[in-house]
């Protein structure tokens, strides 16, 4: 008889022997333990054994999962099927369980003084900021682990999440950036005409949109749309104990839930920003043509002369950082939800406020760093 042995030291052992009985019918003889550890070897060894009989007399212990796979491989699902034979009583009991077909069955707190409440709010803000920072650290650590176990990250959610964030924000991002470009150009137009410098509008909107307005407007819109949605989604999962459910299964919520979301925003915010660049500049162009009588050719020439690739790239890098920040803060606020459904709403709104604050703070930081290094 051909023998296939699963020999992992220390693990429960199972021997699978395939051959024929006296009448020449295929026969499988099993001995050892039928467990989830030995089940993969059993499953492989019994490919194409659909009509075999199976001698279970050598089986010491059997778990329902492995036994169910055996039954499946042999096609011996009917409770009366006697092709599985020789089982000792404990094993037979589990076998009966596996082949059972159950019927389908269907005092209100007094408000604190105003100053105390302001102090409280400030304290909460600091605690939250500290938690977000700690969470960022956790993400870095988890990223290290994820590199070692790439399969523990749920990569397959990333395209869907990108699409969702992209579609959610596309229209408002385009419109908001267009209006921002339009507004900027309008504000400039009276000065520019009086100085006779109408075509400079292309120059100024080009640089302002690509370096500042487009990444900023995009981040604001994505924060409102996707940031709040992510915080609410993870908050709901937290209060319904779905997150705990992941943890007790040995899955890391950071890798399973947070990574795909942060990653998808880091990918999609620059893409949306590139598109916002176009609509923003178009806003400036509309003012240039309608209000300042700048010919299209001249607008394009000015734009090309003034706009470096570096401006655009720098804007997109900024967008990438905004995307990471939105994902990070939204996930942190979501996972920090405690209590019941009503706290999910609070999580979503505090997430948006925290994201908007972070983006404004980052924008200020970039400006300070930029001017310091003369960039």
């Amino acid at each position: 008889m051909a023998r296939e042995v699963d020999e992992r030291a220390g693990a429960p052992l199972l021997t699978v022997e395939r051959g024929e009985d006296d009448a020449g019918r295929p026969l499988v003889r099993l001995s050892g333990d039928l467990t989830l550890e030995t089940a993969p070897a059993l499953w492989r060894a019994l490919g194409g054994a659909a009509n075999a009989r199976c001698d279970l007399s050598g089986v010491r212990t059997a778990q329902p999962g492995a036994l169910a796979l055996l039954v499946e491989r042999l096609g011996a699902r009917a409770p009366g099927d006697d092709r599985l034979f020789g089982a000792r009583e404990e094993v037979a009991r589990v076998l009966r369980l596996v082949r059972r077909f159950p019927e389908k069955v269907a005092e209100r707190p007094r408000p604190a003084p105003l100053v105390a409440r302001l102090g409280d709010a400030l304290w909460r803000f600091l605690v939250q900021a500290q938690r977000v920072a700690a969470f960022a650290g956790e993400l870095v650590v988890a990223a290290g682990r994820a590199l070692r176990h790439p399969s523990s990250v749920r990569w397959r959610d990333v395209p869907m999440l990108c699409e969702r964030a992209g579609v959610q924000a596309a229209v408002v991002v385009g419109a908001a950036s267009f209006l921002a470009g339009l507004m900027l150009a309008f504000q400039l137009s009276s000065r520019l005409t009086s100085l006779g410098l109408g075509s400079v509008v292309a120059d100024i909107t080009g640089v302002a949109v690509t370096r500042h307005l487009a990444p900023f407007m995009t981040a604001l819109m994505v924060a409102g749309r996707s940031g709040s949605a992510i915080a609410a989604e993870l908050g709901t999962m937290q209060v319904t104990h779905e997150v705990d459910g992941l943890r007790v299964m040995g899955l890391d919520p950071v890798r399973y839930l947070v990574f795909p979301r942060v990653l998808s925003l880091a990918l999609i915010v620059p893409v949306l920003t590139a598109y916002a660049n176009i609509t923003g500049i178009f806003g400036g162009y509309v003012v240039g043509v309608v209000q300042l009588d700048v010919p299209t050719v001249e607008f394009v020439r000015e734009l090309r002369a003034s706009l470096d690739l570096e401006d655009v790239v720098r804007g997109l890098l900024k967008a990438l950082i905004f995307g990471l920040t939105i994902g990070l803060v939204a996930c942190q606020r979501g996972l920090d939800t405690r209590g019941g459904p009503q706290d999910v709403g609070t999580a979503a709104t505090t997430a948006v406020v925290a994201i908007l604050f972070s983006i404004v703070a980052l924008e200020a930081l970039f400006a300070a760093v930029g001017s310091f290094f003369g960039l």
Binding site: T35, L36, E37, A39, P40, W43, Q63, P64, G65, A68, L69, V71, E72, R73, R93, V94, L97, V98, R100, F101, P102, E103, K104, V105, R145, H149, S152, T236, M237, T240, H241, E242, D244, G245, L246, R247, V248, M249, G250, L251, D252, R255
Partner: protein, 249 residues
Amino acid sequence: MSADDVVIRVQELTIGYDRILLEHVSFEVRRGEVFGILGRSGAGKSALLRHLIGLEPPWTGHVWIEGLGEPRLRVDERPRFGVLFEGGALLGSLTLRENLALPLRTWTALDEAAIDALVTAKLRMIGLAGDEDRLPGELSSGMRKRASIARAQMLEPTLMFLDEPTAGLDPVTAEEIDELILTLNRNLGTTLVIVTHDLASILRTVTRCILLDDETRSIVAEGDPRRLRVASTDPRVHDFFHRLAGRVP
């Protein structure tokens, strides 16, 4: 009862969140038991369970679980026990099949075809064959409970924790869940720790129990619930077993 038979040992455990819920409680769970954690709503049963499985750190005292020591949930480590949360905690965005397949995909070397066969077999065992591709939100609460128990059982743990497995179910469905619990216990030798205040279910399944009291923040009774029900003279115990609205078989 030899020391080998202790599966969980709780010593002088004090737990709480913003206030203390239980103080200096000690008890043991033995192999092969259906161990009940009883008490009125809000007594801290779920909180105690969360501490037993290591989701929350105790204020003081110790929990010890056989083969694990202090329970700490570690990611990247195959879980040693199964847990049913009060609401089921199935992942709402995954179908039933994907929910049940998740622990197998993560922790066994089975290929997709085998996982699929196994998930189908388990769903059949709990009477949910045919609902594989539904989302948890599309199931009744009894179906969700059964599916959650099946998910907790996927890796064939020898120890399981169930929080309110029968709460909010009609008596017939509750009885089916009790049957499932008894099957796990008697046929597979699983040790079960069950949080419940469903009297009928307690009398049917639980072999030994502790009764928590939120006023004294302690254990007020320990033993076989059938005996406690008739023999206890403590008014709190008597109240729990007699006044509590419950289905009595």
